[in-house]
């Protein structure tokens, strides 16, 4: 499989770094980790030691000072080599928010620590908000010296093992929750997950039909529910200005979509690569199955769609880097996320078909990427919502909701 994207010198270095990691951390490593329910800490530490957790944060905090387009390459390469995790996405998001909106004191206190490995979670999604993302109800009630946090968050990656979490909460309780056209007033808080009043339980995210609970994905990620019961958060842990969280999160969301798109493309290439190699060797009748057009053409379509999605994601990340208008960036990032997730699913599907029964064997690394790839069609918003958004901004049609 030839690589057709032309990388910059910086991006070549990033790629080399990821390839050096992939030589040490192979699929066996991950299978063993998941079996023992252990976080892939050795890999994490190596990423941290090389400054990649702070890839888009300036060097003075220990970061790499790269752009979003470089981040796209990093995430894509990590996924292509089977090294990407949702934990890494959360960490990069939290680093970015802290760097962009934190005050100097917060930045100096937290950034070096989280860039050098202290894990962070991004506590945003809630059971009753779903795709209507800003309709969250977790409430931060302001008292004299602190805020009092109460509510429920769900699908929060790695929070139990995290040192910090960034919590998104309402800070003005007079908003009308029913009116979805009105966005609630939201603020961001840096919270210690071990604070009194916080209860964390793992979610059952397995795909095997056994009675045993299965919590860890092949990426080493575990998802949690968090319950906040009058949790005291000191005033100085507010990130940015009170009530201005939504403005911050629009940027964060675009970054998130670009990363998820890069992940999807990387994972799609990961499974497609394996399937291509398999199809070259696997002989059922007289010729290798890769010489049958019923196999080869869907593979050719999959690589085409992955490469095109990659072009779309490049446009999005470069628009982010050159700080284009937020509506334009949002449309680009939406389109990239949508096409990348569909292309990844297409690649995964033909990989399953090529491997036949072996595709279900975890050792071949196809079925294990099923959930991660599927989730890229949902995170942070579903493809259907993206299409709704596109009607309005890409075609000038009214909202159909």
């Amino acid at each position: 499989m030839i690589e057709i994207e032309k990388l910059t010198n910086d991006q070549e270095l990033i790629k080399d770094f990821v390839e050096s990691l992939s030589k040490k951390y192979d699929s066996e490593y991950f299978l063993k980790k998941v079996k023992n329910k252990e976080f892939p800490i050795e890999l994490w530490n190596e990423i941290a030691n090389n400054g990649y957790l702070g890839i888009i944060v300036p060097e003075k905090y220990g970061g790499g000072n790269f752009g979003i387009d470089d981040l796209r390459v990093f995430v894509g390469e990590m996924a292509k080599n089977g090294l990407m995790s949702f934990q890494l996405v959360s960490q990069i998001i939290v680093c970015d928010i802290m760097h962009k909106y934190g005050n100097d004191e917060q930045k100096n206190k937290y950034l070096p620590e989280i860039i050098s490995g202290a894990r962070c979670s991004f506590a945003f999604s809630e059971p009753d908000a779903g795709t209507n993302t800003f309709n969250i109800v977790t409430d931060a009630f302001k008292e004299e010296e602190h805020y009092k946090l109460s509510g429920h968050k769900t699908y929060i990656t790695g929070v139990k093992e995290s040192k910090y979490m960034l919590v998104v909460a309402r800070t003005a309780s007079n908003n009308d929750l029913k009116d979805i056209s009105k966005s609630p007033t939201i603020s961001l808080f840096f919270v210690d997950p071990k604070s009194k009043g916080i209860n964390i339980t793992p979610q059952n995210i397995g795909f095997r039909s056994t009675s045993e609970r299965e919590e860890m994905l092949i990426t080493g990620d575990v998802q949690y529910d968090i319950y906040f019961d009058d949790v005291i958060v000191p005033k100085e842990n507010l990130i940015g200005k009170e009530n201005e969280g939504i403005g911050y999160l629009y940027n964060t969301f675009n970054l998130l979509k670009i990363m998820i798109a890069a992940m999807a493309i990387g994972w799609g290439k990961n499974v497609l690569n394996k399937a291509v190699e398999y199809a070259k060797k696997r002989t059922v009748f007289e010729d290798p199955i890769g010489s049958y057009q019923a196999i080869q053409h869907p593979m050719a379509r999959a690589i085409t769609d992955l490469e095109l999605a990659n072009l779309a994601n490049q446009i999005a990340s470069k628009a982010c880097d050159s700080e284009e208008d937020i509506n334009l960036v949002t449309t680009y990032a939406n389109v990239a996320r949508y096409v990348a997730s569909e292309a990844a699913y297409e690649a995964w599907d033909i990989a399953m078909q090529s491997y036949g029964g072996y595709s279900l064997d975890r050792e071949y690394g196809i079925i294990t990427l099923w959930q991660p790839i599927l989730s890229t069609r949902i995170i942070p918003i579903s493809n259907e919502v993206i299409l709704d958004h596109f009607c309005k901004h890409g075609l000038g049609l009214p909202n159909s909701q």
Partner: protein, 407 residues
Amino acid sequence: MIEFEKKDERQRKMLKAVMDLVDELLTKYSKEETKISTDILTEIVAMAMGSGILEYSDMFASMKKDALPVKLNTLRLVMVELADKYWNKFGELSKFLSKSGFIPFGASLFTFGTLSSTQRGMDLLINKYLPEALNGNCISFGVTEPDAGTNTHKILTTAIEEGDHYRLNGSKVFISGAETRYMNVLTRIVSNGEFEGIGNLIVDTRTKGISMTPMDIAVLPDDQYIVYLDDVIVPKENLISRPKKEEKDIGGGTFYGLNLERILLSMMVVAVGRMAINKAVEYAKQRKVLSKSIEGYQTIEHSLSKAKIRLELANLATKKAAETFDNKEDLEIIGAYANMAKLTGSEAANEVCNVATQVYGADGLNKDNDISIMYQIARLIRIAPINNEMVLNYIGEHLLGLPKSYR
């Protein structure tokens, strides 16, 4: 509505100049039903070069030999922007294009690309064929043969070296604009009784031994011909591309031209798709069947959105292909993007036309709405210049390294 492709100041200026010219020509044309004069043709051709008026005159002023006279990416930009602006004037535009001699010029671009890949070709292009084309003496592209079809290696047309000339025999089919002055003929080359490989020979169509008959093809605004080559004598220096010793059968120069053909046709089909999607969106806004206009239904909106997104992706692939071509990147990379562009361009345009037909209902089949004509063009580009199955074979073999799937 969001502008998908960001343009820089220079591009905006160039586009404005082109649009002004087209406005003027369309107004003129709607008054006079006569054939467009040579002056205007020259102007359109200059515009069609897309390099537009600006780059084009620059090039002639300085005669820069290293500059590609046709910047493909600029041409693409002009085509899709024209489609966006004149989406409701498909009929007028296509009549105008065929009457004005634009189409034979468009076909000449295939040859220009092949020429520009070498220094000798570049000299020929700048000193001879480009000025000739501007005077209306264009170059058609003679590739397809009745017995070869998709398998170009099987062509039978043969040029036998005899002293200072070649003797050319064979026949070609589906040749757009063959009645123009020159033809770039893909032929087997035989020297000293030995088959050397497949190369390109430019033939003056007034030469003795050439005859042609028009075909009755429904879709295209230009005429297609069957061309017979019967003991045609062609000067040796007209060989513009030949296989090098290390190349098997077909030379790099020929592939250069074939890639170019794919890129140009994907530009065209993306432009047609842009017209169709704009028409469909506009119609959906007005059309009311039940209590509200049909644009408000998610099934319509999502179909339109998906089709538009695919089309924009195809445009991106075409852009990338054009850029890699303009930058003379590695032939493998140009080939990858050119094939991806042709595959996705043709399929996206088909999807767009399909959705547009659905949105229009039976009215989509009304010739006055042009949707059915656009649909036929989009459908054709899944077959021409090569069928998408062969494109998928190319991608499977060259990008993925899978074994050959056809014999």
